[in-house]
Amino acid sequence: MPAINLMSISVLYATSFAILLLGFLTALSSKDLIRLLIALELMFGAVFMSLIPLFAVAANSAFAASIIVIFTSAGELLVLIAAIVIQDRRVKNILVRDITAGGDKL
């Protein structure tokens, strides 16, 4: 059975943080909803990476958390597809700048 040590924990968390950071940057620079969807999926990938060390401590809880993450991601995909379809019907494009509800302005 493979063991998880300090070195692998460091690599896993560093990679997870790097992917999360790249996901955030992609989401911030996204101009349309498809790119936003891609960025969110990338962030879920980072969540999966950060869950691996938990398997060494509480394997069943980690597995349950992983399944919840998969379902949440699928739900997020469902909601975003609905948003894309509605936006496309309403304004004939999927650009983020045409979304008038929610969000902060810097």
């Binding site: 059975m1 493979p2 063991a3 998880i4 300090l6 924990i9 460091s10 690599v11 968390y13 560093a14 990679t15 943080f17 790097a18 992917i19 950071l21 790249l22 996901g23 955030f24 940057l25 992609t26 911030l28 620079s29 101009k31 349309d32 498809i34 790119r35 969807l37 891609i38 960025a39 999926e41 990338l42 990938g45 999966f48 990476m49 691996i52 398997f55 060494a56 394997a59 069943n60 597995f63 349950a64 992983s66 399944i67 919840i68 998969i70 379902f71 991601s73 699928a74 739900g75 995909l77 469902l78 909601v79 597809i81 609905a82 894309i84 509605i86 496309d88 309403r90 983020v96 810097l106």
Partner: protein, 151 residues
Amino acid sequence: MLGALAGVLVLSALGVLLSKDNFYSALFMTLTLVMVATVYALFDLQPLFVLIVFVFVGVIGIVTVALAATYRAMPERQFAWIWCILVLITAVILGFSIFTHTLHGISSPIGFTLQGFLKPGSEYQLLFLFLTSLVILLFLSVIKIYRGEES
């Protein structure tokens, strides 16, 4: 091996950010997710590998690639540099807390088995109930949004 996989992971995630075409970004994202699943396989977590590859990559990844191919366009770059400061502050705080925390001497085996998870009285029943409720709520929300839009 883990270091090499981590390197490929970060590079493919960087490809998502740097690629201007959504279609290639979606392909890079799928590659990243396959690599994440490979890391699970490296730690002998086969059930998770199958779940991630078949559900996460096989369904979500492919739907995203198909969507990106349908709405294929060259987006303009939009980037607010002020967010970089916030991200940098968070990275410094996280890095500092990780390096000051004593993690030395940790070396525990991963002993996960699917049979152990599915046995009666485990978290499986609660998880099944929770996920069923989540799916029903999600579908109801989407139907409500869609009906509201049509009317």
